[in-house]
Amino acid sequence: MAKRFLSGNEAFAYGIRLAKPQVISAYPITPQTIVVEKLSEMVEDGSLESEFIHVESEHSALSCAMGASAVGARAFTATSSQGLLYMAECLVYASGGRFPIVMMNANRSTALPWNIYGDQRDSISQLDSGWIQAYAENAQESLDFALMSYYIAEQKQVSTPFMVNLDGFVLTHTYEVVDVPSSEQADAFLPPYETENKLDLLKPKNLAFSAGPEHNTAFKYKEHIGMLNVKKAVADAEERFAEIFGRRYTGLTESYFTEDADYILITLGSIAGLVKETVDKLREKGERVGLLRLRYLRPFPNEEIAESVKNAKAVAVLEKDISFGNEGTVYTNVNSALQKSKISIPTSNYIGGLGGKNISQAEIETIFYDLKQEKFKVRFLSVGGDLK
């Protein structure tokens, strides 16, 4: 391994180089552009042997990756925001076709008003597309997701495409220290992609076919089972990863001082770093607070959430999303997890960071103190006014 000072985008590109996809097809969009530029440089200088295909749109980028996956190749693409929405039609083709493509999405706000900065409304709008969705906290985890995502997606019992999300700019464009594994280590971790789900002249078969009312449900059921199998595949991948690289991850969620916490903030992505610092600060003052970070939104960590918050007095969900006319979608999902486990505690929802708006440590402290003072609500940070 070698320490490098890299941005989130660059770290992800280094991780993809180690995963050796045979085909990369992508269309540039801020703030994803650098990961694609970096990979094209790697192909150009010969340090990555891959077919780099310049396409004319995001719709084509994912269509192209599917074509590659359908002949048994490992494929990569990347996008962001409007690009993700433009390829939405293809997202369900890739998941329904069970093609284990990996895509990096640089989380960015969606128009209008036009805005290039980070929030998570792009990927969260696609939770039902049948893709695994993971959210990185920092550049190291981004690189490690690049490697682990292929291992997980390509397990036969999973065979599901994998979207890794990096917060636009605050993660994609921020430089920090990253351990870059050696090629030998990466090869020991990630075997070449082998599948029977491909077009093969020696074993002819029909892929990407129609299924009418009689059979359609069975296919969707199998797709759901494939997604549920991700949890075990994540555990296996992380065990193998820890043995080879010495870094251990914690499954679908990461708990930070939740064991004895009265008040727990649930969030996802790079803001978790600031929440950890805030938990440290409040713990020094004797406050029993904790963080639960959702590393994955699909499959959704229902059991992990219930287990982590079962002894808490109240929880809040902080997310960079709003489902207009309801609440943040992560909040809806968290409440469902609690209800299924018969955990009846007050919950609050804070919508923040929209269009790249900074979330301050003072705002995070206020969330914890509001929980303690039994002020439960749905609220837009920096706008104010309780919605319920």
Binding site: K3, R4, F5, P31, I116, Y117, N138, F169, V170, L171, H173, T174, Y175, E176, V177, S270, A272, G273, L274, V275, K276, E277, G356, N358, I359, S360, Q361
Partner: protein, 178 residues
């Protein structure tokens, strides 16, 4: 945490300097961490830009822009005014590239334009100010900066930039002896 705020104009390399400094600090051992990032947005040559470097002895979770800095570094003195002091912590210092004399003990000045013209043959002062910072800040050595330049800049730029970093550091040290 030590927070360093860079002011420059698009094209002067303020973010490159912020990034080199982060690399210099964090790659020297396993217990040093840094973040470096520019002010995000459209890039325009000549427009005022800011860049940020943060140092700490543990991973840094706060990815937001620096509000109050320990050091503010100006690559271009047309961007400097008394407003700068509102961004400075009480014990903070300002490093200013200027030919002027500033009568304020918080401000350390350096004629970076002349050093850059003599050594680089270009009006680019980002690495000049990096050398000046290394002379002022105890926690970093010139050898750390040299290593960061060697690992993160194109090879043809190594020799002259290391020379200008060294000259800038010397010039600051000499000034402080007087």
């Amino acid at each position: 945490m030590t927070e360093i705020l860079w002011h420059g104009r698009g094209g002067q390399g303020a973010f490159t300097a912020a990034r080199l400094l982060g690399a210099a600090y964090s790659l020297r051992d396993d217990n040093s961490y840094a973040l470096a990032f520019p002010s995000f947005g459209p890039e325009r040559r000549g427009a005022p830009i800011r860049a940020f470097t943060k140092f700490a002895d543990k991973p840094i979770g706060d990815r937001s822009e620096i509000q109050k800095a320990d050091y503010i570094i100006f690559l271009d003195d047309t961007l400097f005014s008394d407003n700068a002091f509102s961004e400075l912590k009480p014990e903070g210092k300002i490093l200013l590239n200027t030919k002027r004399h500033i009568n304020d003990e918080r401000v350390i000045t350096l004629d970076g334009d002349t050093l850059a013209a003599d050594i680089l043959g270009l009006p680019i002062t980002n690495t000049v100010m990096l050398g000046a910072f290394a002379a002022v800040f105890d926690g970093i050595d010139l050898s750390d900066i040299e290593k960061a330049i060697n690992e993160n800049m194109p090879q043809k730029l190594h020799r002259k930039n290391i020379a200008v970093v060294t000259a800038a550091a010397k010039s600051i040290k000499k000034g402080s002896d007087i």
